[in-house]
């Protein structure tokens, strides 16, 4: 079971695992479809109308924006992150440890790599769905420019793959389900707060900006914000490259770590 064979062992059968997880989501569809649609409404109420009433225009990239307009692309990025990370982090952990789903599937023609690639694909699907749902809501509130905002759809799928891979990695590294509080505290929450989601990073000290630029969510927010502001530019290719490279690296690492846990 050489690690070099991880790519070779991934086949079309990963879609069977994806399909299984999507089917489970459809069984419990109300709890899967309603939150991504309602969450942004809550954000808009709390931050846009509540906090926004006290916030003057936000200056970003030489222009002034309403707070709600500034916040909208951040909400999209956060939604993609939460929904895909949590799907694999808790979902895969439960399937591994409690439901023994992977033990059942590993005796069928699926390889461990097929199973885990399927997990990442279904986590990404949830993230992409959440991204699209939030985009729809912010569009209805008139907070997104078109056609540039359409970039968000394929981007949500890619970022979904990245965050689902992170989730799978955390699940692979956590001995007990309670340990998953640690990546939430150390990784997810700091990103939620410090990736330019709620306020521009320009005003922050240099070291905070530097740290924020290491966080994957910052790069996602850069692109979603440019998309809803109709300010897409070639400079964003760096953000895209960062996401692509990180996605490949974390996907590989998460499959490797989880496979070691599955086969022993």
């Amino acid at each position: 079971m050489n690690n070099a064979f991880i790519l070779k062992n991934i086949s079309y059968r990963a879609w069977h695992m994806w399909r299984r997880n999507v089917d489970v989501s459809l069984v419990t569809w109300k709890t899967n479809i309603i939150p991504p649609l309602l969450e942004p409404v809550l954000y808009i109420l709390a931050f846009g109308i509540g906090l926004g009433a006290y916030v003057q225009k936000i200056n970003f990239d030489g222009r002034a924006y309403d707070y709600l307009t500034f916040l909208a692309p951040g909400m999209i990025a956060v939604g993609i992150m939460f929904h895909s990370t949590f799907d694999t982090m808790y979902g895969a952990f439960v399937r591994l440890r409690y439901q023994k789903t992977f033990d059942a599937v590993i005796t069928t023609p699926l390889s461990a790599e097929d199973i885990l690639a399927g997990e990442i694909l279904s986590g990404a699907t949830k993230g992409a769905f959440a991204g699209a749902a939030i985009l729809l809501i912010v569009t209805l509130f008139g907070l997104a420019s078109y056609p540039s905002s359409l970039v968000i759809l394929p981007l949500a799928a890619l970022a979904g793959l990245m965050f689902a891979s992170f989730g799978l990695l955390f699940a692979a590294l956590a001995p007990y389900i309670d340990n998953l509080n640690l990546p939430i505290f150390l990784f997810i929450n700091p990103m939620f707060l410090f990736s330019g989601t709620f306020f521009p990073l320009d005003g922050m000290p240099a070291w905070v900006r530097l740290a924020a630029n290491l966080l994957p969510l910052t790069h996602l927010v850069n692109i979603t914000r440019a998309a809803t502001f109709n300010r897409l530019s070639p400079a964003l290719l760096w953000d895209l490259l960062y996401i692509l490279v990180l996605t490949a690296a974390v996907a590989y690492l998460s499959i490797r770590k989880m496979k070691a846990r599955l086969i022993k």
Partner: protein, 248 residues
């Protein structure tokens, strides 16, 4: 006729521990073969290697001429595995469990549904067709696991402690099913520590302890050899593996 399963010098080491320490056996077509041993003897480890869920430390297993070392997928297409632990999908109904599982074998939906319905009626699960798994008793869950193991029309069936934890009624029902499959010519590997079960179902068996085969033959031969024909297989088992308690 060449054997369906051929196990050659099979080994599994965990550091210093030799969980499986060089075992050999062959299973012929249509045979029900028993793998017996106390807890921790290496039964489940052997089954995991046979079902390609665990890499081998040494030796080889071939199933229908395919080696676990070279063609695990090919083997997994022709195996039916009824696991020790209940790992049904709790989010799906009885029918959906079978249909989703059949997808892993690339069985098209119409065919999968047909097979699932056949199995559901054969295993008397039709009352529970649309029920979630948590509504099933332990015996019904095991029956569904057995049905699931047959969805791909396997050439070889692996039964890993199929009746552990069941009441005598459910146990007998599983035995009936296994006998039925045997009379249809399905090759079966059964692991158990219920000696009565092995005596009843197995044509031939091996007793393993501490990762090694300590005895093999037909139930009758073993009783004849070790007890002069007086007693049952359980006495042979205890004579060979000792009476001290085992840890898992």
């Amino acid at each position: 006729m060449p054997p369906v399963i051929k196990v050659t010098d099979l080994r599994k080491n965990y550091g210093e521990l030799r969980a499986v320490d060089g075992i050999d056996f062959e299973i012929s077509r249509g045979e029900c073969f028993g793998l017996l041993g106390p807890n921790g003897a290496g039964k489940t480890t052997t089954v995991k290697m046979l079902t390609c869920a665990l890499p081998l430390s040494g030796g080889d297993i071939t199933v229908d001429g395919l080696s676990v070392n070279n063609d695990p997928r090919g083997i997994k297409y022709i195996l039916g595995v009824c696991p020790q632990e209940i790992n049904l999908d709790p989010d799906f109904s009885v029918l959906k469990n079978l249909v989703v599982y059949s997808r892993y074998f690339d069985i098209p939906y119409a065919e999968a549904k047909k097979r699932a319905e056949e199995l559901i009626s054969r295993f008397h699960l039709h009352d529970k067709l649309d029920r979630p798994i948590e509504d099933l008793s332990g015996g019904l869950k095991k029956r569904l696991l057995l049905a699931r193991a047959l969805i791909n029309k396997p050439k070889v069936l692996i039964l890993d402690e199929p009746t552990t934890g069941l009441d005598p009624q459910s146990r007998r029902q599983i035995w009936e099913e296994v006998r039925g499959m045997k009379s249809n010519g399905l090759t079966t590997l059964l692991t158990t520590h219920y000696i009565e079960e092995a005596e009843l179902l197995c044509d031939r068996l091996v007793i393993i302890d501490a990762g090694k085969i300590v005895e093999q033959g037909t139930p009758k031969q073993l009783i004849q050899k070790h007890l002069d024909g007086k007693g049952n297989l359980e006495d042979v088992f205890l004579k060979l593996t000792g009476k001290h308690l085992r840890d898992e």
